[in-house]
Symmetry: C2
């Protein structure tokens, strides 16, 4: 009675609803109903079918289901750079909610390249029910185009007409600048992230306006990359700017800069105060520990997945969702030394 087509090379073929149907003596369609639409089938047959299914270790084949329904039960998560520790919490939060909804996450990285991001998004989109675009470097129009095909939620960046989840940098920034101002800082710098990043622009504008409001001078310093190396390399420019405090685009850059300061004998926070962004793993490890603005990436991940699942169900709800940020005080900030 052996299977005559498969060479039985690896593993026996998994059980199908036909196997269950044969055993219980019903039609495959009845099996499908029994398993997916409780109540549509008489209690006794449903019982028998469930038992047989359990016996055979039956699992629905997601590919086969996807064909007629168009639903794959998976979501795509596309980030700009997997190496960045910020994404850990995001992924974790997303994964939690996804699991709760029996949904799998497919995972990809665009290596900070818009072209790669676009092609990956397109390929990914066929295989998933919806896409999470994190810190996208694409243009609004491109994202809107993708969103026309399948539901998309943008994370860490708003896109007109597309649902999004992003931190509201305002509160954390206000706290930061109030603190710096109160301590006596008057000349500060913003150490920038990638130019293509919407969030970078947002942070700069916010910091700028808040600083001006408080009568402080502020300059923007470019960095080569939003990484520790980028921060290290920016050291010279920061020194040249003659400021007493630096707000960094993210913690990685700030940590790189702290390292460079240490190496060059610049005392943090006496000679230079430093504030990062994100509160990533490790921000509290550095010497001195890094003050930072925290936005809950875990929350962002879970909210974004919820929103996306909603959009897939047809909830045209949620335009833009903003999550609050807060200042986290650690040792890298103090009154200016002189």
């Amino acid at each position: 009675m052996g299977d005559k087509r498969r060479p039985a090379a690896k593993g026996k073929t998994p059980a199908t609803i036909y196997d269950i149907a044969r055993i219980t003596g019903v039609n495959p369609s009845t099996v499908s109903r029994a398993l997916n639409q409780p109540g549509r089938v008489s209690a006794s047959t449903e019982q028998r079918i469930r038992e047989a299914a359990a016996d055979l270790g039956y699992r629905t084949n997601p590919m086969a289901r996807a064909l007629p329904t168009g639903k794959t039960g998976t979501l795509g998560l596309l980030v700009s750079d997997l190496t960045n520790p910020v994404y850990f919490d995001l992924v974790r939060g997303a994964e939690r909610i996804a699991r709760e909804h029996d949904t799998m996450l497919i995972f990809a990285d665009s290596q900070e390249s818009p072209e790669l991001e676009r092609s990956t998004a397109e390929r990914l989109q066929i295989a998933v029910d919806g896409l999470l675009l994190v810190a996208s470097r694409l243009e609004d129009a491109q994202i809107q185009e993708l969103a026309a095909a399948k539901p998309i939620v943008a994370v860490n960046r708003p896109v007109p007409g597309v649902p999004s989840v992003a931190p509201d940098v305002q509160p954390g920034m206000v706290e930061s600048l109030d603190l710096l101002h109160g301590l006596g800082h008057r000349r500060i710098a913003y150490l920038a992230g990638p130019e293509a990043s919407w969030m970078n622009g947002m942070k700069w504008v916010t910091a700028h306006d808040l600083a001006v409001d408080r009568g402080m001078s502020i300059v923007e310093i470019q960095s080569s990359a939003p990484t520790r190396e980028g921060g290290t390399e920016a050291f010279a420019d920061v020194m040249a700017a003659d400021v007493t405090a630096v707000l960094a685009y993210n913690d990685l850059i700030a940590l790189g800069l702290i390292g460079a300061c240490q190496q060059h004998g610049v005392a943090v926070p006496r000679d230079l105060s430093l504030i990062g962004f994100d509160d990533i793993f490790g921000a509290d490890l550095s010497a001195p520990a890094l003050s930072t603005v925290r936005c809950s990436w875990g929350d962002m991940g879970s909210r974004a997945v919820s929103k996306l699942l909603g959009a897939i169900e047809g909830d045209a709800s949620g335009a833009e969702l903003n999550l609050p940020t807060e200042f986290v005080s650690r040792a890298s900030v103090a009154a200016p030394g002189r």
Copy 2:
């Protein structure tokens, strides 16, 4: 001529080979051949078909392909805890190779729970061509059972009869113990990880044997979890053990312990030398920077994926692959203070 069944709610239906067939006036089977088996179709028709496909923005539907072929073009990656920074590099390495082979990665986390790991692995297995089991907490027999259904590669742990990729802790440990011995340490401790972890046992046995060889005493100290908290909580037990150096199961635990030492006024490395494991992001940030044993998780990830892809193709090759480790010298190790 509009599509009469779909409510056109979201996005137009993607193009299929039938659309291409209709446009070019050939049979769908010819389209399939033209696209997948170059040379099997006359050059001119292939040309026309490719053009039509490009025009329509055709992408092959992976679900539809998976049904007859049984190949989904995806791999599953199951780790014990996504929060652990060690997995950054692993995921990144895995992702790189996967991309090169036009393969997607599906991603899941078992939250250090063997039951959850088992059920997740089973669910995942249906949707993928092969599974990467990282730091599995399952028993050998369970893994072998899973491996009977579809190809599996175990990472960070060998399993009899199942291909695996794991670090060879020996070289890094030898360097560590030679260094400690040379500096004059005679009483050391091993700060353990999860009991269910094969790797934990491996590290303890190796450290133990090497220490004994060198005439040093060594004790095993339990930790509550392989996290920074676990390391912090182990502080009292470490102090009680009256040792001059500690080898930790991983960097997280070591970093937790460093923090606790700082807080309790125990000077590292003067009063206590510390060596971690993994060289995770942040290991060089702590004060003092953490000496550690590095195994290239990025390599492990890419090797594991290669091996898995090979196994899927039928290469029954690779049994067990071990990657070397090396000691990374930083500031947390010195001669004992007294």
